[in-house]
Amino acid sequence: MITFTEPLVHKHYSGRQTFGAGTANEDFIDMRAEVGLLTRNVQFRGDPEWSPDNQYGAVIICHSPGDESTTCRIDSIELYHVGQAFILGSYPIHFHMIGTVHSSYVRNNAIHHSFNRAVTIHGVHYLRVQNNVAYHTMGHTIFIEDAVETKNLIENNLILDVRRSWSLLNTDQTPASIWITNPDNIIRGNHAGGSDRYSYWYDL
Protein backbone atom coordinates (compact mmCIF):
# COMPACT_ATOMS: atom_id res chain seq x y z
CA MET A 1 0.00 0.00 0.00
CA ILE A 2 1.17 3.51 -0.83
CA THR A 3 -0.08 6.46 1.21
CA PHE A 4 -0.21 10.16 0.30
CA THR A 5 -0.20 13.32 2.34
CA GLU A 6 -2.52 15.01 -0.19
CA PRO A 7 -5.78 13.21 -1.05
CA LEU A 8 -6.40 12.18 -4.67
CA VAL A 9 -8.14 14.78 -6.84
CA HIS A 10 -9.35 12.27 -9.45
CA LYS A 11 -10.74 8.77 -9.46
CA HIS A 12 -8.34 6.08 -10.72
CA TYR A 13 -10.18 3.01 -11.99
CA SER A 14 -9.13 -0.58 -11.56
CA GLY A 15 -11.34 -3.40 -12.75
CA ARG A 16 -11.81 -6.23 -15.18
CA GLN A 17 -14.14 -5.78 -18.12
CA THR A 18 -15.78 -8.97 -19.35
CA PHE A 19 -17.13 -9.45 -22.85
CA GLY A 20 -19.60 -12.10 -24.04
CA ALA A 21 -20.27 -13.36 -20.52
CA GLY A 22 -21.71 -16.88 -20.51
CA THR A 23 -20.91 -17.50 -24.18
CA ALA A 24 -18.18 -19.61 -25.75
CA ASN A 25 -16.42 -16.37 -26.70
CA GLU A 26 -16.24 -14.98 -23.17
CA ASP A 27 -13.12 -12.92 -22.70
CA PHE A 28 -11.85 -10.10 -20.54
CA ILE A 29 -9.58 -7.10 -20.53
CA ASP A 30 -7.86 -5.79 -17.41
CA MET A 31 -8.75 -2.11 -17.11
CA ARG A 32 -6.37 -1.12 -14.37
CA ALA A 33 -4.65 2.23 -14.01
CA GLU A 34 -0.88 1.91 -14.23
CA VAL A 35 1.36 3.11 -11.41
CA GLY A 36 5.00 3.92 -12.25
CA LEU A 37 7.96 4.71 -10.03
CA LEU A 38 9.67 7.95 -11.07
CA THR A 39 12.43 8.31 -8.46
CA ARG A 40 15.81 6.56 -8.39
CA ASN A 41 18.93 6.99 -6.26
CA VAL A 42 20.92 8.14 -9.31
CA GLN A 43 19.40 11.24 -10.86
CA PHE A 44 20.55 12.86 -14.12
CA ARG A 45 18.96 16.23 -14.71
CA GLY A 46 19.08 19.61 -16.37
CA ASP A 47 19.80 22.52 -14.08
CA PRO A 48 16.73 23.90 -12.28
CA GLU A 49 17.39 27.48 -13.35
CA TRP A 50 17.34 27.15 -17.13
CA SER A 51 15.79 23.83 -17.99
CA PRO A 52 12.09 24.20 -17.18
CA ASP A 53 11.68 27.84 -18.22
CA ASN A 54 13.37 27.35 -21.60
CA GLN A 55 12.45 23.71 -22.23
CA TYR A 56 16.19 23.13 -22.40
CA GLY A 57 17.23 20.07 -20.39
CA ALA A 58 20.15 17.68 -20.23
CA VAL A 59 20.73 14.86 -22.74
CA ILE A 60 22.78 11.72 -23.33
CA ILE A 61 24.03 11.12 -26.89
CA CYS A 62 25.88 7.94 -27.83
CA HIS A 63 27.49 8.17 -31.22
CA SER A 64 30.42 6.89 -33.18
CA PRO A 65 30.25 5.21 -36.58
CA GLY A 66 30.97 1.48 -36.59
CA ASP A 67 29.42 -1.66 -35.14
CA GLU A 68 29.92 -1.84 -31.35
CA SER A 69 32.12 1.27 -31.46
CA THR A 70 30.24 2.86 -28.53
CA THR A 71 28.54 1.15 -25.60
CA CYS A 72 25.96 2.75 -23.32
CA ARG A 73 24.50 0.71 -20.47
CA ILE A 74 21.92 2.86 -18.72
CA ASP A 75 20.07 1.04 -15.96
CA SER A 76 17.88 2.09 -13.03
CA ILE A 77 18.48 5.83 -13.14
CA GLU A 78 16.14 8.81 -13.16
CA LEU A 79 16.26 11.39 -15.96
CA TYR A 80 14.46 14.62 -15.06
CA HIS A 81 14.18 17.90 -16.93
CA VAL A 82 15.78 16.36 -19.99
CA GLY A 83 15.59 16.83 -23.76
CA GLN A 84 16.05 20.12 -25.60
CA ALA A 85 13.02 21.55 -27.38
CA PHE A 86 13.73 23.01 -30.84
CA ILE A 87 17.03 21.09 -31.10
CA LEU A 88 16.65 18.14 -33.46
CA GLY A 89 18.75 15.27 -32.10
CA SER A 90 18.92 16.38 -28.46
CA TYR A 91 16.82 13.76 -26.75
CA PRO A 92 17.10 12.41 -23.18
CA ILE A 93 18.73 9.21 -24.48
CA HIS A 94 19.82 9.17 -28.12
CA PHE A 95 21.62 6.30 -29.84
CA HIS A 96 22.90 7.81 -33.06
CA MET A 97 24.28 6.05 -36.14
CA ILE A 98 26.46 3.41 -34.50
CA GLY A 99 25.46 0.14 -36.18
CA THR A 100 25.00 -2.93 -34.00
CA VAL A 101 24.95 -2.30 -30.24
CA HIS A 102 24.65 -5.80 -28.80
CA SER A 103 26.14 -4.82 -25.42
CA SER A 104 24.14 -1.61 -24.92
CA TYR A 105 20.80 -1.31 -23.16
CA VAL A 106 18.37 1.18 -21.63
CA ARG A 107 16.37 -0.45 -18.89
CA ASN A 108 14.56 0.15 -15.61
CA ASN A 109 14.93 3.91 -15.93
CA ALA A 110 12.45 6.69 -15.22
CA ILE A 111 12.42 9.46 -17.84
CA HIS A 112 10.06 12.25 -16.89
CA HIS A 113 9.42 15.90 -17.62
CA SER A 114 11.19 15.70 -20.98
CA PHE A 115 10.99 18.51 -23.53
CA ASN A 116 12.03 16.32 -26.50
CA ARG A 117 11.07 12.59 -26.59
CA ALA A 118 12.53 9.94 -24.24
CA VAL A 119 14.56 7.34 -26.17
CA THR A 120 15.63 7.70 -29.80
CA ILE A 121 16.91 4.72 -31.77
CA HIS A 122 18.67 6.01 -34.87
CA GLY A 123 20.83 3.90 -37.13
CA VAL A 124 21.34 1.14 -34.58
CA HIS A 125 20.45 -2.52 -34.36
CA TYR A 126 19.96 -4.90 -31.43
CA LEU A 127 19.38 -2.19 -28.82
CA ARG A 128 17.36 -3.29 -25.78
CA VAL A 129 14.88 -0.80 -24.30
CA GLN A 130 13.10 -2.54 -21.44
CA ASN A 131 11.11 -1.81 -18.29
CA ASN A 132 11.43 1.94 -18.51
CA VAL A 133 8.84 4.45 -17.31
CA ALA A 134 8.40 7.53 -19.48
CA TYR A 135 6.05 10.17 -18.11
CA HIS A 136 5.12 13.69 -19.18
CA THR A 137 7.17 13.86 -22.37
CA MET A 138 6.87 15.91 -25.58
CA GLY A 139 6.74 14.41 -29.08
CA HIS A 140 7.03 10.78 -30.18
CA THR A 141 8.45 9.28 -27.02
CA ILE A 142 10.18 6.05 -28.00
CA PHE A 143 11.30 6.88 -31.49
CA ILE A 144 12.74 4.65 -34.22
CA GLU A 145 14.00 7.33 -36.51
CA ASP A 146 14.98 6.34 -40.02
CA ALA A 147 13.47 2.93 -40.89
CA VAL A 148 16.92 1.35 -41.36
CA GLU A 149 16.87 0.25 -37.70
CA THR A 150 16.24 -3.47 -37.14
CA LYS A 151 16.23 -6.11 -34.39
CA ASN A 152 15.76 -3.61 -31.60
CA LEU A 153 13.73 -4.78 -28.60
CA ILE A 154 11.19 -2.42 -27.01
CA GLU A 155 9.65 -4.41 -24.22
CA ASN A 156 7.60 -3.83 -21.05
CA ASN A 157 7.89 -0.08 -21.01
CA LEU A 158 5.25 2.22 -19.52
CA ILE A 159 4.64 5.42 -21.48
CA LEU A 160 2.14 7.89 -20.01
CA ASP A 161 1.15 11.49 -20.70
CA VAL A 162 2.72 12.21 -24.08
CA ARG A 163 2.31 15.87 -25.06
CA ARG A 164 2.25 17.36 -28.52
CA SER A 165 5.30 19.34 -29.58
CA TRP A 166 5.42 22.33 -31.91
CA SER A 167 9.19 22.47 -31.66
CA LEU A 168 10.11 19.23 -33.41
CA LEU A 169 8.94 17.46 -36.60
CA ASN A 170 5.51 18.03 -38.13
CA THR A 171 4.24 14.65 -36.98
CA ASP A 172 5.20 15.44 -33.40
CA GLN A 173 2.18 17.73 -33.32
CA THR A 174 0.12 14.51 -33.21
CA PRO A 175 2.52 12.43 -31.15
CA ALA A 176 2.73 8.69 -30.62
CA SER A 177 4.01 6.93 -27.52
CA ILE A 178 6.02 4.63 -29.79
CA TRP A 179 6.89 5.65 -33.35
CA ILE A 180 7.83 2.64 -35.45
CA THR A 181 9.29 2.97 -38.94
CA ASN A 182 10.49 -0.58 -39.56
CA PRO A 183 8.46 -3.66 -38.66
CA ASP A 184 11.63 -5.72 -38.14
CA ASN A 185 11.81 -4.64 -34.50
CA ILE A 186 10.23 -6.37 -31.51
CA ILE A 187 7.59 -4.29 -29.71
CA ARG A 188 5.87 -6.19 -26.91
CA GLY A 189 4.46 -5.89 -23.43
CA ASN A 190 4.40 -2.10 -23.41
CA HIS A 191 1.60 0.00 -21.94
CA ALA A 192 0.97 3.30 -23.69
CA GLY A 193 -1.73 5.57 -22.30
CA GLY A 194 -2.73 9.18 -21.95
CA SER A 195 -1.10 10.33 -25.17
CA ASP A 196 -2.35 13.55 -26.73
CA ARG A 197 -3.04 11.56 -29.92
CA TYR A 198 -1.58 8.08 -30.60
CA SER A 199 -0.10 5.14 -28.73
CA TYR A 200 1.57 3.06 -31.46
CA TRP A 201 2.19 4.60 -34.87
CA TYR A 202 3.55 2.33 -37.58
CA ASP A 203 4.77 4.74 -40.25
CA LEU A 204 5.65 2.29 -43.01
Binding site: L8, S14, L37, V42, I61, R73
Partner: protein, 95 residues
Amino acid sequence: MREFDAHYILVKGGNMEVGTEVDRYTSKIVITLWSTKYDPNIPIFGNKVIGVNYGTLDMHGVERPITWTELSTTADVGATSITLMPMQNGDVLDW
Protein backbone atom coordinates in the same frame (compact mmCIF):
# COMPACT_ATOMS: atom_id res chain seq x y z
CA MET B 1 24.01 12.91 -0.95
CA ARG B 2 26.65 13.64 -3.59
CA GLU B 3 26.33 16.22 -6.32
CA PHE B 4 28.19 16.28 -9.62
CA ASP B 5 27.94 19.40 -11.75
CA ALA B 6 29.22 20.11 -15.26
CA HIS B 7 28.46 22.10 -18.38
CA TYR B 8 28.96 19.03 -20.55
CA ILE B 9 30.81 15.71 -20.47
CA LEU B 10 32.47 14.26 -23.55
CA VAL B 11 33.62 10.65 -23.26
CA LYS B 12 36.02 10.27 -26.16
CA GLY B 13 37.59 6.83 -26.27
CA GLY B 14 37.25 6.30 -22.52
CA ASN B 15 34.83 5.16 -19.90
CA MET B 16 32.42 6.95 -17.61
CA GLU B 17 31.03 4.94 -14.72
CA VAL B 18 28.29 5.69 -12.22
CA GLY B 19 28.22 2.17 -10.85
CA THR B 20 28.80 -0.91 -12.99
CA GLU B 21 26.79 -4.01 -13.79
CA VAL B 22 28.42 -5.98 -10.98
CA ASP B 23 28.86 -3.08 -8.51
CA ARG B 24 25.90 -0.74 -8.65
CA TYR B 25 25.93 2.80 -7.34
CA THR B 26 23.99 2.52 -4.08
CA SER B 27 24.14 5.97 -2.48
CA LYS B 28 22.26 9.02 -3.63
CA ILE B 29 23.75 11.20 -6.35
CA VAL B 30 22.39 14.04 -8.47
CA ILE B 31 24.23 14.74 -11.72
CA THR B 32 23.28 18.18 -13.01
CA LEU B 33 24.26 19.68 -16.36
CA TRP B 34 24.27 23.45 -16.60
CA SER B 35 24.20 25.21 -19.97
CA THR B 36 22.02 27.53 -21.93
CA LYS B 37 21.19 27.23 -25.59
CA TYR B 38 23.66 30.04 -26.28
CA ASP B 39 26.71 28.44 -24.68
CA PRO B 40 29.39 26.84 -26.89
CA ASN B 41 28.38 23.68 -28.74
CA ILE B 42 30.35 20.53 -29.53
CA PRO B 43 29.81 19.44 -33.15
CA ILE B 44 27.12 16.69 -33.38
CA PHE B 45 26.66 16.49 -29.61
CA GLY B 46 25.59 20.05 -28.81
CA ASN B 47 25.82 21.10 -25.18
CA LYS B 48 24.31 20.20 -21.80
CA VAL B 49 25.14 16.64 -22.83
CA ILE B 50 26.89 13.46 -21.86
CA GLY B 51 28.38 12.60 -25.25
CA VAL B 52 29.86 9.16 -25.75
CA ASN B 53 32.17 8.81 -28.75
CA TYR B 54 34.15 5.57 -29.23
CA GLY B 55 33.66 5.01 -25.51
CA THR B 56 31.59 3.32 -22.83
CA LEU B 57 29.01 4.81 -20.50
CA ASP B 58 27.87 2.82 -17.49
CA MET B 59 25.12 4.17 -15.25
CA HIS B 60 23.65 1.68 -12.80
CA GLY B 61 21.49 2.73 -9.87
CA VAL B 62 19.82 0.49 -7.32
CA GLU B 63 17.68 -2.02 -9.14
CA ARG B 64 14.00 -2.07 -8.17
CA PRO B 65 12.04 -5.33 -8.23
CA ILE B 66 9.75 -3.79 -10.85
CA THR B 67 9.46 -0.27 -12.19
CA TRP B 68 5.71 -0.08 -12.77
CA THR B 69 2.55 -1.99 -11.98
CA GLU B 70 -1.21 -1.48 -11.81
CA LEU B 71 -3.80 -0.61 -9.19
CA SER B 72 -5.42 -3.66 -7.63
CA THR B 73 -8.52 -1.71 -6.57
CA THR B 74 -10.10 1.53 -7.70
CA ALA B 75 -8.84 4.63 -5.89
CA ASP B 76 -11.65 7.14 -5.36
CA VAL B 77 -11.52 10.89 -5.14
CA GLY B 78 -10.21 11.90 -1.73
CA ALA B 79 -8.39 8.61 -1.10
CA THR B 80 -5.09 8.94 0.76
CA SER B 81 -3.74 5.53 -0.20
CA ILE B 82 -3.66 3.11 -3.12
CA THR B 83 -3.17 -0.65 -3.32
CA LEU B 84 -1.01 -2.23 -6.02
CA MET B 85 -1.12 -5.58 -7.75
CA PRO B 86 1.00 -8.25 -5.99
CA MET B 87 4.24 -9.22 -7.70
CA GLN B 88 4.42 -12.43 -9.72
CA ASN B 89 5.89 -14.37 -6.80
CA GLY B 90 3.00 -13.17 -4.63
CA ASP B 91 5.07 -10.75 -2.56
CA VAL B 92 3.77 -7.31 -1.74
CA LEU B 93 5.59 -4.71 -3.83
CA ASP B 94 7.84 -2.57 -1.66
CA TRP B 95 9.14 0.53 -3.43
